[in-house]
Amino acid sequence: MATAHSRIAARFMLAPAVLMLLCWMIVPLAMTIYFSFLRYNLLMPGMEQWAGFDNYSYFLTDPAFFTALKNTLLLVGGVLLITVIGGTLLALLLDQAMYGQGFVRIMVIAPFFVMPTVSALVWKNMFMNPVNGLFAYMAKAVGLQPFDFLSQAPLASIILIVAWQWLPFAALILLTAMQSLDREQMEAAEMDGAGTFSRFIYIVVPHLTRAVTVVILIQTIFLLSVFAEILVTTNGGPGNASTNITYLVYAQSLLQFDVGGGSAGGIVAVILANIVAIFLMRMIGKNLEA
């Protein structure tokens, strides 16, 4: 790839793939933008008419929007907090030499392979159910009133479920980072009189910053669009206590059959995601530079 000639050839050969990806992205985006300016209701097909920014103003002034925005940010932030801290601790544990290491590591990744709908249903019906759930059973065993997670603390419960799914991912990335730490550095710190805790704070944590950055960036992308877990557990409720932007867009376009409003919500979500991305890159993107 060094000569000018080979670079031009490379560009030519890349072009079809790039063009196809571009269409793949641009066409749905353009259609969504187009729909977002139409009065387009599925109950009245063929009656579409130009609506200007009406859809946007309805969506943005809807009180549900602000709740959804807050919920989205809480969901992303909460899950990130749990997975990064929990993942670090889990990685520390997995990094220890122990019997059956390979098997334990595979078991730890397991939640990541379970489909979101399935794991959310398992949590809903087998753990958090106030009558049959494991938690209710445990509460009753010690004489406490069972707690109805999904109606008393719907958002926190969803955060818990989603965090459970993403913990293995974070733990795994952080574990590989931990294993790439130079052993002599740890030994040098040990000779320098740093105890276990100081070594963790001064050597391990700085070494992990880049991996943590990767975890945060990747997870944020996926956490902004959490949907299945909400759909199968709380349906966004009670009220809209656990509705995030993604779910609000769904409710708008498919429960209220308002494709125009839903599309406007979708575009708002895209813009929000970009704002979050810019913020993140500003804050932690420099960690990625070598």
Partner: protein, 331 residues
């Protein structure tokens, strides 16, 4: 202070004995060099002294105190690693200050010490850089700085110069010797470069397969190697060994002659010139002998001899080393 005694120290990893029962006395202020072929256990021995590995049996005394099971931080020793092991996310200043910070020293005292060490090591201009922005030699000096500020009882070096280029290695070799003269602290230095061993050591410990082959001053080892292994290991180019009837003439199983003790002559052992290596001051001639192994001869200055020219070699009779069948030196 800085006297280290090893008593019957052994180390095994699983079933492999890496260090056989080993006794060693390291005096205060001595510069001791461990040499030996790769895999003979030099690093392991150093790490045992540092406390980074547990000894399997035996005893380590530091200043007369039993330190066999003392954690590394409490032994009062400082180590310089082959890979430098600097903390990449800390500035040079923070790197050097790290052990002092861990010891809970107050900031003013730390600053004074760090600045002092930086001055000694010519690092003052680099204090705010990160290790990644330094050259190999500078990194090495930072690693040494981090060791100095602790004022340890002894310094442990594990092949500290092996990542440096030849010119820098010569410089750093001098700097470390200079440092030893000014600090007068005990230093234990691992290397497999025998020029480093010969030039820096007060005392050389030659190791082979986890055993001590010989301990002595550089010239002592050069002149009076205890066995064939030490004779072949110390000295560059390597000693030439001759077996068979020529050795029997001297009443030995094998005789050894150093390249500098062989002369080109009109009669004697016959052979043909092989490759000649010209260093300027000296020339090494590799001679293919008739009925013996190839020998190396060191001659001063240049030589006019061409590849394939017939020559005769005569050893200096006063400098012939004699070994028995077990490789032990015969008196």
């Amino acid at each position: 202070m800085g006297q280290i005694t090893l008593k019957q120290v052994t180390k095994s990893f699983g079933n492999t004995d890496v260090i056989r029962p080993l006794d060693l006395e390291i005096g205060e202020g001595e510069f001791v060099v461990f040499v030996g072929p790769s895999g003979c256990g030099k690093s392991t021995l150093l790490r045992l002294i540092a406390g980074l590995e547990d000894i399997s049996s035996g005893q380590i005394l530091i200043d007369g105190q039993d330190a066999s099971h003392t954690p590394p931080a409490k032994r009062g020793l400082a180590m310089v690693f082959q890979s430098y092991a600097l903390y990449p996310h800390m500035s040079v200043r923070k790197n050097i200050a790290f052990p002092l910070k861990m010891a809970g020293m107050d900031q003013a005292a730390i600053d004074a010490k760090v600045n002092g060490a930086a001055k000694v090591l010519n690092l003052t201009d680099y204090l705010d850089r990160r290790p990644g922005q330094l050259s190999g030699g500078q990194r090495q000096r930072v690693a040494i700085g981090r060791a100095i500020v602790r004022e340890p009882k002894a310094f442990l070096f594990d092949e500290p110069l092996s990542n440096l280029d030849a010119a820098l290695r010569v410089n750093m070799r001098l700097e470390i010797s200079e440092l030893h003269q000014s600090l007068k602290t005990t230093m234990i230095y691992v290397t497999h470069d025998q020029v480093e061993a010969m030039t820096m050591a007060d005392k050389i410990v030659v190791l082979s397969a986890g055993r001590i082959e010989q301990v002595g001053s550089p010239l002592d080892l050069y002149r009076h190697p205890a066995n064939k292994f030490v004779a072949g290991f110390i000295g560059s180019p390597k000693m030439n060994f001759v077996t068979g009837p020529e050795a029997a003439k001297h009443g030995a199983d094998t005789i050894g002659i150093r390249p500098e003790h062989l002369k080109l002559s009109d009669s004697g052992w016959a052979g043909k010139i092989g490759v000649t290596e010209r260093l300027g001051s000296d020339t090494f001639l590799h001679v293919h002998m008739d009925g013996m192994d190839t020998m190396t001869v060191r001659t001063e200055g240049d030589t006019a001899l061409k590849y394939g020219a017939p020559v005769h070699l005569t050893p200096d009779p006063a400098c012939i080393h004699r070994f028995d069948a077990q490789g032990k030196t015969l008196a």
